[in-house]
Structure formats: C-alpha cells, structure tokens
Symmetry: C2
C-alpha cells in the first residue's frame, strides 16, 4: 500500500504547476528517462511504442501520396552546410561538430545533421538531369541534433526523432501544391489520429524556416493555453536550387532550376498528446495511437476461474484486432487501476467472480471514467464501438477547449488584457511590419503563431499593435 | 536504343571481376549512391525499401519473443565509453568524436555511438533494482558510426543502419538461453526470408566481440566463395554489470549482478543478398524481401485495350496481397525487361494483344528465366504459387552452392592447396591456440569463421595448422 500511495501522490496537479505535472507524467507513465548525455533523453518502451504508431500511420499516409523513403548520411561537411546563406545562419549556432575520426583530426569538420536540406540538395544535383527525373518525393526517418541550451522531454531536446521530407519539382506550382498537400496531411493526421485540433496557416517572415520562401504550420493549443507548433511544411522556391546548382533540361531542351519543398514532424507530437489530453491521473491516449488500447484487470483473481476468464477476454479482443493486455500480477486491483490510468490506456475491463456469474464485464473509460456493463457475448463489438466513441469524443472535447480559448483583440489595450489574463490564442490584425512582432514578443513573450488559411477575416481595420492599416489576421500566443 | 544498350553493357560479369560486378549492381539497381561524406552512403528508395522489409519482418519476430523497442542517445560521453576495458580498446580507435556544441567546446568529448552497450548499461544501472525488474529485453533500430579506413557499399561503411538488442537477466542460464535464441532467430530469418543458408557457430577468443564472454555468429557464403558474417549474438556474462555496477536484489534479499547479452544485424544483409543470389543481369531478390514482387509489362501497349488489361492484372494482384507495379512508360519492352531484371524483381508478367485474345499472360521468373503461360482466371493463384516456388528454389540453389564449396582439410598441406585453389569454407581441426589463427591469417588472409554448433565432428585428431592434438572443428575462410 505504501508504494501504491506513492504512485498517486507523486503527481503534481495541473492547476498547481502545469510544467511539473508534465514532467511527472512523462516520468511516471515511463515514457522517457534522462540519460548521462545532457539534454538527450531515452525513449522507454511505452514512449517509443507511441512513436512507432505515429510513424506507422504517417508513413502509410505518405506512401499513398507517392512518397519514397531513403536514408542520407548523419554528417554534413561544413562546406556543404555553408552553401545556402540564410540556412547556415539559422543552424550553425546550434549544431554539434565532429572534429576527429578515430585517432586522427578530420581535414574538414562535419556537423551532425540538424536537418538535411543541404544533403538532399547535393544528392538531387547529382541525380536530376532531365524533366523525366522529376518530381523527386523523398522522405527519411531519422534523428537530428540541435545543441539547445534549455531542454524539455519531447518538446525540446538536443537529439530528437523525426521524419523529414524533401522534394524537387519542375514548376513553382507543383512545389506549392506539395507544400500545401503535406501540411494538410499533417493536420488531418493530428485531428484524426491524435484527436488534436490544429490551426493551419502561414508563418510570418520572422518566424519562417531558415532558407524557405514560405513556411506553413499547424498550431495546436495545449491544456494550459500555450501554443505548440506541431508540424511545418516549407516551400523553398528555387533558392536552394540556385545555391546548389540543381538544374534540369525541360521538354524544350532548356536548362531550368528545380523548385523544392521540405516538411517534418517530430517526437514533439508525443508532448502535444500529453498536454492536450492528459489529466491529474496521468496520460490519456487517443485509442488510435495507444500502444495498449485495453487492459483487462481481474478482480479477486485468486478465486477459481477468474484469471482464466480474464485471459479468455484478452484472447478474444486480440483476435478481433484490438491491442490488449491483461495484468495478472500480484498487485491490488486499485494499484493496477492507477497504473492503467497513469499510462493512459483508453479502456480497462474489470472482471470478477460476480461478473462471471452474471455473464458480464465492466468497461471503464480512461478519459471520462464512465463505466459500462457489457454482456460477455457483446464484448468485441462493444469494445470496438467504445474505442471509436472515445476517439471522437476526445477530439470534440479538445476542440471545444481550444475554441473556448480563442480571443479576439481589436487594439493593444484589449491585446494586453487578454494576453495577461486569458491563456490561449489571440486573433488580432497585423500590419505586416516585423517591428510589431518584435514589440509583442518583448512586451509579453508572445509570438505570431500563424496567418490562418481558413478563417481569414477582417476583424478590425488596424494593426492590433501599432494601429496602422492592417489586412492580415494573425493568431498570436505564448508558445512552447 | 543507345541508352538501352548502355544499361546492359555497363555490368561487368561476375566471372571477370566479382568486386566490380558487385559495385555495378549496387549502382545500376539504384540501391545506393555515394555521398559527399567520404565512406558514408545514401540508401536510395530501392535499397531502403529492402531494409524496410528486413526491418518489418525481423521486428515482428523480435516482438514475438518479448522484445520491446526503445531509443537511446546518439552520443556516448568519453568517460562512459571508457568504463569497460576490453570494450573501449576494441572501439576507441574507430569512433567519431564530437568536440563542439554550437559555438562552444564541450567539457567532455562525446563519441558518436559505434554500438550502445555502455549506454544501455548506464540505463540499466538506474532502472534495475529488484529481481522483479528482470529481465529487460530491449532493442533499438538506429544508425551507428565506425571510422573505417576502407569502405564498400553495405559491407563496410562509416555509418550503417542496424538493430541492436541489449538484455539483462537474473541468471547466467537465462542470458545464455537468450543469446542462443536470438542467434537462431537470425539464422531462421536468413534462411526463411533471405533464402540464404548460414552456418551457426561460436567465434574463437580472437574473433569475439570486444567485451563479450562468448560471441555466436551466423556465417554465409557469397557466390565468390568468400564468407560474410551476417549476424552476431553476444553473451557478456556479468563483465559489463561489474564494470557499471548493475545489481539487483534477489528473492532472498541478496545483491546480485545481472547477466547481459547483445545482438545485432545490419544493412550488410543487403550486400549478402546481392552476393548470394545476383547474376550477370543484376540483382535477384527473394520474393519475401522484394519491395516489388511482380512487374507487369504491356507488350505493344499502343494497341487497344493492352494498357487497360495490364492495369487490371496489377489491380487484381495487389488486391490479393502481392506487391506489384506496372511499367506503362514509353520505353521498349526489351528495355523494361532489362530494368526489371537489373532490379531483381522476382516475376515479370508480359501481356500483349495476342495474350489478351487467348485469355492468358506470360509469367517470367527472374531467377531461372523460365516462362509459364497462365490462364487469366488463374492469375492470382499461379502467381502466389510461383512466388513461393521461387523463394524455396532460391534457397535450395544457394544451399547447394554453399554445400559444394565446403572442403575438409586434414593437414596444412591440404589446407594450403584448398585455400589457394578452391574458394569456400574449409573445415579443419584446431588446437585452440591463437598462434595458429594468426599464422593462417598471415599466410592466406583467411580467418576462423566459427566453431560450428551443428556439425562438430572429429575429422582429424590433430590441428590443421600446427599438428598438435585438436578437438575443435573450425570453419575457416576468406571473408568480407
């Protein structure tokens, strides 16, 4: 009992200290561990399994759109990184440098990839000659390294796992279409699989990716009202192509530069899932991404037939394609409940002697704690149905929460009041001048999250910051 | 036609120059490309897709035995690498060192992981306290870096993809059982999926892994008679546990050291598949690992209905779970055949106006070039059956070739004659003295590949090298 108490006690409540709650969940749900390499985390089985599910589903969706996977080297020669001016300025201050191979110093320093635009450009330069070689729609799954000063599990770490897609196209239009297509794929994935609503939009010049002509983003709102950039898709135009000399011969035998894009999602999505859905009992996983969807917990398991029945239910559910485990350990049912809740397993099934006698079991939802008594003959159908219900209701709840935390500001007085008292997105007009972004950042540590695609409306005629004429609606917010 | 000719001409024949043939296949089948990072290769879509299939099937088999996936940091602090004496001696000369993070020198150098024993030990030390925490059976899929001087695509490169399993157990027996289990899993995988026969055995002291008590290996024979180490499984005993202080409290409340294992397979398997099955027309892929199993090639595709019929066949095969593509490009059928052969696609289906009229199509095997006329209504059944036949006959052929290249040597005269004239494995008794291994390596650049588990027999009473009494049968050979 001492240990059981400890498990529950050890979680700080969200209201009390959201940051500490997050750290507690990440540790107690056994998603990560700290390593002896400062700023690098260990993804434990429960954490890595979520990533495997994300990876599996994203990869499937990528391939449906014609993406092919490749693997590029981990290292980038310094001279290659330096080829595109904006890009190197963006990344050079935060890369790790390899200077020795074996016992000898290297002739040229190599950086550990922070992102692989330069490697893909160097590759494309060699393999693209004719319009027949286009488009190239390649992606890789790998880890990248950015020497961040402050780190937090999943959200910002010196090494993280991600996918990076890099494409080359014959025309500007095709590159733009691919940039938008991947952003929409990301948004649909977040909404359909992670049950996490996102705002789709464009980054301002100030916030765009180093070397991009345009960066599109999806922005999610965490439970504490802070924004999290959850995926980005960049249109490079022909900037990298010119820096690297990536040209092809078109149908009229003329040399043309290719147009390029890149797009990526990372393990930070796991942090997003925690902060959108979690509660004071721990993690709450959407069924589609949960490594274990159902935990069968026997009650009074020493009574005759209980363990056998629990195993039977597990076997039946597994046979109908549900990811299910049973907990037959010597711990008390209460402790097992706490563990299942901490780990965010969407449904637990309780089955004891009385249930067996009555030909039923009890399904308990992780998200709402609602209990349903289910006749054993309906087990598969009811469980499948409940998983779908949980998935859609989790999305609806997250969306309602998000929508309730979007505020309109028409001038700086309103903006100031909202940003200081109401965590969430602030919709406000912007004149287009970076000085206003700088001022808002300095005054409130808030940033322009995006210029939304879908709900661009003229909520005022003047900039929320400087009062000059403004035509662009921007989502502002404090962000991770 | 000029380009078509080039494709075929460009391959060196195996007999003429095996090494050049290998390089030609690797490039012409578009498996890899060289990168601007010396010694690091780019895995192109056709190469990476083979790795994805290997990964998928191995991972499935791992999980069936209770393996859980994790992800450990890319970097190892120098002090951590130095903790186990034999291990650091084995790896320190060939690691890449990170000395700077961003603009600042690091306080302690980090090496890019050449393998992750030390990281797992550091992790296990923190998470293992009681016998209840055991066993830990973790694995990771990642890339590792070894600063090799000479490199060859897939076989030896400075960065390569692999999986590394690392386990911790309460007892010596359990660790030994896991070591053997994983070696057998590897061997079964190679034989059942890659259609590649292997010899299972133990490495000698000289050839074992740095820090291991025992290394088990599977050794395959390439078409040129050279051996390729294709997977290894190590039993560390409690050596690492003592160096890192990994202890648990047993049921009697006594402190005990854990017993550990590790095991790995790499992208070198792709090199093995090329060199076991390939021929002078290029790659020959076993169906179970082929990214594309069937290529449908329309004949006289401009005639009415041909392209439509080809698409229909493709759709039907895809619906029955076969990985199929069609080539509707403007190239000539002959060129398409050459491409399909170069890429090692197990079956091509030819369909033209006459076939359509006769209600049939032609299945051509890549491995034997045998043609079968198949009635269109039998398409799915016959194709599935043929894929199975190809798979099993490829294994049988590779095994017959391997078995025909195993020679017995009873003394050094015989050994000398065989090693100089007959490429293959040489079975010969060994006294157990490393001096004999050294002499054989110096005289012939041949090494002890393994002491086989399954066909240990006393083919002589004396060492094949020094003539002293000998009880161990060893497979010797030149190796990649």
């Amino acid at each position: 009992m001492a240990k059981e108490k400890k498990l529950v006690e050890a979680i700080t409540s969200m209201e009390e200290d959201f940051a500490q709650w997050y750290t507690d969940v990440v540790k107690k749900a056994e998603l990560i561990d700290y390593s002896s390499v400062k700023g690098c985390m260990i993804l434990k089985p429960a954490g890595y399994a979520i990533w495997e599910n994300i990876q599996h589903e994203l990869d499937r969706r990528f391939k449906e759109t014609g993406v092919e996977n490749v693997y590029m080297p981990l290292f980038i020669p310094e001279s290659l990184l330096n080829k595109e001016k904006d890009h190197v300025e963006g990344f050079a201050p935060e890369v790790a440098w390899v200077t020795h191979g074996g016992l000898n110093p290297l002739q040229e320093r190599l950086c550990v990839r922070p992102t692989s635009e330069t490697l893909f450009c160097d590759f494309y330069k060699n393999i693209i000659q004719s319009y027949r070689d286009l488009p190239k729609v390649y992606n890789q799954w790998c880890s990248v390294v950015r020497w961040e000063k402050e780190t937090r599990p999943f959200l910002r770490s010196r090494e993280f796992l991600w996918q990076e897609g890099h494409t080359a196209h014959a025309t500007e239009e095709e590159a733009e279409a691919r940039t938008v297509q991947m952003l929409n794929l990301y948004a649909d994935f977040c909404e359909e699989v992670l049950a996490m609503p996102v705002v789709r939009g464009q980054k301002t010049e100030k916030e765009k990716f180093a070397g991009a002509e345009a960066t599109y983003t999806i922005e999610a709102l965490m439970h504490d009202g802070k924004a999290l950039q959850s995926g980005t898709s960049h249109n490079f135009g022909d900037g990298f192509a010119k820096a690297f000399g990536i040209q092809y011969t078109d149908k009229d035998n003329k040399l043309q530069y290719v147009h390029q894009t890149s797009w990526g999602m990372t393990t930070r999505l796991i942090g997003a899932v925690i902060m959108v859905h979690g509660d004071d009992s721990g993690l709450v996983l959407p069924p589609r991404i949960a490594p274990t969807q159902v935990m069968v917990i026997p009650i009074q398991q020493h009574k005759e037939g209980v363990l056998e029945k629990a195993e039977e239910l597990k076997t039946r559910l597994a046979a109908s394609g549900i990811r299910v485990k049973s907990d037959n350990s010597e711990k008390s049912p209460g402790f097992k409940f706490s563990e299942q809740e901490m780990r965010g397993i969407p449904i637990r099934i309780e089955i004891g002697p009385k249930d067996i006698q009555a030909g039923q079991c009890v399904l308990v939802r992780r998200d709402t704690r609602e209990k349903t008594v289910v006749a054993l003959e309906d087990l598969e159908a009811k469980t499948t149905e409940l998983l779908e219900t949980i998935q859609s209701e989790m999305f609806a709840r997250a969306k309602a929460h998000r929508d309730a935390h979007i505020y309109d500001a028409h001038n700086y007085t309103e903006f100031t009041e909202i940003v200081n008292t109401k965590p969430g997105f602030i919709r406000g007009m912007w004149c287009g001048d970076q000085a206003c972004e700088d001022k808002i950042k300095e005054d409130f540590a808030a940033t322009s999250r995006c210029m939304p695609f879908n709900d661009q409306e003229q909520i005022a005629t003047t900039c929320v910051c400087c009062g000059k004429p403004a035509h662009k609606l921007v989502y502002w917010g404090k962000a991770y």
